[in-house]
Amino acid sequence: MTAQDIGMLLVAVVGTASALLVVASRNVVHSALYLVIALLSVAATFLLLGAEFLAWAQVLVYVGAVVVLILFGLMLTRAPIGPTAQGNELGRALPMGVSIALFGFLATVIFLAYPTTDIALAPTTTAALGSVLYVHWAFPFMVLGFFLTVSLIGAIILARKEEGEGPDPYADAVTEVPVPAESDTTGDPTPVGR
């Protein structure tokens, strides 16, 4: 049992636990925070596997951008503060059954296919990854960039507010500073709009 093994086990446990908490937590914001931990453990796994750039990219992109985006989404959709019931119409039997069956199957296949394979620790340098990326994978890389631009534009178009569109969920939002409701004071010519 080498150091990597122990480290891998630890990371796996932490990651799985936090993932479970993501899906089981009753507080949506807590779920988001647990998600951070799960993704960080994924980054740790990358490190253990020798993909340093990927680990860094994982933290940057996922933790830094995606989770923030999710938190913003939670905020904009008035995610409930505090614990709420999170069960849906399906109940728990079907999801439980499916995921356990799937896990069982996958684990079996893995154990049968790679019982004794070893992974040597051979860190891939960023330079090596970069040289491969910009030489051999140049075209898909460009496409990827283009694709990201397109999806960005798409997201903007989708989410912008049109005139006359549906009920305004923010209709009851308070947009002004409330003024204490006192009796009419004289000398105040400006009426206070509400």
């Binding site: 849906n88 119409e89 399906l90 079907l94 999801p95 499916v98 995921s99 069956a101 799937l102 199957f105 996958l106 296949v109």
Partner: protein, 696 residues
Amino acid sequence: MSEFAWLIPAVMALSALTILLFGKRMPRHGAEVGILALGVAFVLSVLVAVEVFSANVAAVAEVEEAHSVQSVWEVGGREVTLVVDAAEGGEAAEIPAGVHEFRLEQSTELSPIGGGFSIEAGTRIDGLTAMMFLLVSFVSLMVHVYSTGYMHGDPRYTWYFTLLSVFTFSMLLLVIANNLLMVVMGWELVGVCSFLLIGFWWEEKANSDAAIKALLTTKLGDVGLMVGVVGLWSEFGTFNITRIYEGVAAGDFDQGLLTFSLLALFIGAVGKSAQFPLHTWLPDAMAGPTPVSALIHAATMVTAGVFLIARLYPVYQASPTTLTVIAIIGVITLFAMGLLALVQDDVKRVLAYSTISQLGYMVAALAFSYTAGIFHLFAHGFFKALLFLGAGSLIHAVHSNNMSDMGGLRKPMPVTFATFVIGSAALAAIPPLAGFWSKDEVLAGAFGAGGYSGTLVTVLGGLGGMITAFYMARVLWLVFAGEFRGNGHPHESPAAMKWPLVVLAVPAALIGFVNLPFDFAHPRGFAAWTMFDLAYFEGHPVEFNLLLALGTTLLALLGIAAATAIYRRRAAVANDPMLRLGLFTQVLQNKYYLDQLYMGVIVRPLRDRVAPAAYWFNDHVLDRIVNLAGAGAVGLGRVTYRTVDQRGIDGVVNGIGSTANYTGNLLKFAQSGNVQLYAGALFVGVFVLGVLFAVA
């Protein structure tokens, strides 16, 4: 010339068509076309006859020369005869090779497209045909000329001449035919023409009734004719007459079937030639115009039956049974009908019964001798036509058929008187007129044959001759002697009616001399002319029996004397003793009650019982079956509609729809709108696929 003999009927057919289409517009209303055509036909007939007869005579001369005999029947004192007829005796002389009678056959075969049964349309010209041509065309010509006078002013004058032409064509067609189918064709056509002409003045019901009676009675005979023709066909496999002759000569046939067919054919002749018992139509047929009676019911149509037997003579020779039957029927006819003529008041009826009686003579004669029968047919045609036309002249003058309205017509109508006397004398067989020679040959032939039938024919034939003489003398006394008993002033007929009488009197008087039964004339005479097959040539004359001839003449003179004695006195004329002979008169006047018999036994049951029964059957049984079938079909349709279509098929179709609906209703729950359910289903599917891939 004989190659064009087919023109003779053809020109008459053309004339019929022309008169039918254009007759009304012609100056003489079609009569001129008929007479012209008939003149052409007669001239052609004479030319053909000359050619045929001379060829036949030459053939006989060659045979005689080959046997170095002066006359065919004498070879070293022995009698030699060429005839194969059982009635004649002697040996058969050999016919040298290459010598044959005149025979010309032309025919075309008519076969349907695609093969199958074919029939032929053809002509056969030989001695018999040539003789019949002469008779038919000459008598028809005389009748045509006569009719222009007799039918003058009749509203349907043109139609009359059309019918006369059609009739002449049909008779010539019958005569010229070389196969039995054409004979039947001509036979039926003359029957139709007879029907139309008897009922020419159909406005009187009696006339149309007579026409129907004639048609139906002869039709009964025609059934026999058809059966006979088909019988012969089934025996010999052909309708062609020459081939039937050959078949009979070959000897390979079934005697029973042959006799049956010949008897059936004879029944046809019985009907058409008015033999007992199918004779009842002929007296009633006198309802037609008199020239029609002269042409059709004396000289031509009624001789068609006799002609048929003569035409098939070799075939009849192969069946002695049939010949006996023929002789019996002939003799019954000749005697019984002769008696009927004694009590008639209508002059045409006397002549009608006389015709039937003479036809009996002809038929009986054919049972014993071909030449005798044919010769009597030939001679009788002329003098009977003469007598009928004379009767027509009388009727035209007196405007009545009855002899009780006539009398003393000798002075006002001398030509009619003279020609009528010649005709009557010929009919009564007074020598040397034609009737004597022909009737004598008949009786001599029967006498020579011997046997029961021969003796019967001789005896009754002789007695019949006496009766004939008696009733003809009676007619002469009642019509021409004494005082005129009718109304008006009778006068001689116009020229158109007079001259045919005169012209016809010539052959009536003299035609006997072509067939004298004496050695010097016979082999080259009528017998040679009319022979159709050298093997059947009756070179041996029907032996002239002087005693027989004298006997019959005596009987005839006796009859005349008796009639003279009775009718000389005026009292007898007014009060005819023949009509007062009690039962004898009554039976004769009722024509042996045969008409009543036929009416009661055949006509009434059919008309009043069988026909209504058949109608009832048709109405109630057949129609009911048909209606049931219809109702059944309707019911079946209804059942099919309700059960099969509505319940069955529609059930299936609707069932498919409702099944789809039902399963849809069950399946719709999969569309819950819940995305997570869809995702769940997706992952389950992934799991299943994964397992499958892993295991397989």
